[in-house]
């Protein structure tokens, strides 16, 4: 883009994201009314933004549980035993924490 369009690449992106200061936003909007090229560029930005958001990679099933299993495997047996004593009980360890989660600053 040249001439009047020079603002476009960064300002048009910011306009698209609605992060421009009001005066500049109005100025870009005004320009867009008269400029088919910049309108097309804005349409392209909008489309690209949507396409990029749609690219998010889906994590493999069970990822979190595998991470947790590895944490279990690599942590000391001591902690595991502490937690296992709480199974099926009123969990006194937690009760203490409820009383003061911020105690350990």
């Amino acid at each position: 883009m040249t001439g009047d369009h020079r603002f476009a690449s960064q300002s048009l992106q910011a306009y698209h994201e609605q992060t421009l200061p009001a005066a500049e936003d109005a100025s870009v909007r005004e320009h867009l009314r008269a400029c088919t090229e910049c309108r097309a560029a804005l349409a392209g930005l909008t489309e690209l933004a949507g396409d990029l958001r749609a690219l998010r990679t889906r994590a493999p099933d069970g990822l979190a549980e595998r991470v947790i299993a590895r944490l279990d495997a690599e942590s000391g047996a001591a902690r595991l035993s502490v937690i296992s004593t709480a199974v099926g009980q009123p969990a006194p360890r937690i009760a203490r924490r409820v009383a003061g989660p911020g105690d350990r600053a």
Binding site: L48, A59, V67, I94
Partner: protein, 210 residues
């Protein structure tokens, strides 16, 4: 068992129903710092998929991305006592993961990665000569083209683009993950978008010329 413990009961659960994400993380982090692995397990469940989605774009393949994800959580667990809480937990975690992914990437020959991605780009190049709206039939092809173009970006720019434009983090969050000021992040992101645009137009030109 870590995730089977009844410890994940009333205390922070009640908070979660009524508070924002960040506040939830703060409560879980506080419990986890005190040694509550069930609370850390919840942090894993909450952030594993997001972390994976970020690092997979920086890794050689999905297997490595899973390894990096696991490694990041292990380090986070071990490093929790030193986590000061002046960053959000997930930006701290992502930073660990991104740094690990970059460390591994540095160990590979960069040229190899670029060659592969360019080949893919040619293979999947779009017929469009510019980034204009495309019809539904061309979307799948565009997606592959975008994937390849992103893979071809230098890692700094790629990380910025992935965090902001794909994962939708705010500028402040993404800058925190990368450990740079917001102004520097914006400049990096702008550069990434420009490179992506150029890459996409190049693909279209290659396709048009062939």
């Amino acid at each position: 068992m870590f995730m089977g413990s009844p410890c994940r009961t009333t205390a922070y659960r009640r908070d979660i129903a009524t508070s924002r994400m960040t506040e939830d993380d703060c409560a879980l982090v506080a419990f986890a710092r005190a040694g509550d692995r069930a609370a850390f397990g919840d942090l894993v469940r909450r952030h594993a998929d997001g972390l994976y989605a970020v690092v997979v774009r920086l890794c050689a393949d999905r297997d490595e991305a899973e390894e990096v994800t696991q490694e990041a959580f292990l380090r986070a667990w071990r490093g929790l006592p030193g986590f000061r809480g002046d960053a959000q937990f997930f930006t701290w975690l992502y930073r660990i993961g991104v740094n690990e992914a970059r460390r591994r990437a540095d160990g590979r020959r960069r040229a190899d990665v670029v060659v592969v991605s360019l080949d893919e780009q040619r293979e999947h190049a779009s017929r469009d000569r510019s980034i204009q709206p495309v019809d539904r039939a061309e979307r799948a092809d565009l997606r592959r083209t975008l994937d390849a173009a992103i893979a071809g970006l230098p890692v700094d720019q790629r990380a910025a683009l992935v965090l902001r434009d794909i994962e939708g983090l705010s500028t402040a969050e993404a800058a925190a993950v990368l450990g740079v000021r917001e102004a520097a992040f914006k400049s990096r992101l702008h550069r990434a978008r420009e490179l992506l645009r150029v890459g996409l137009v190049d693909h279209a030109s290659q396709r048009g010329a062939s």
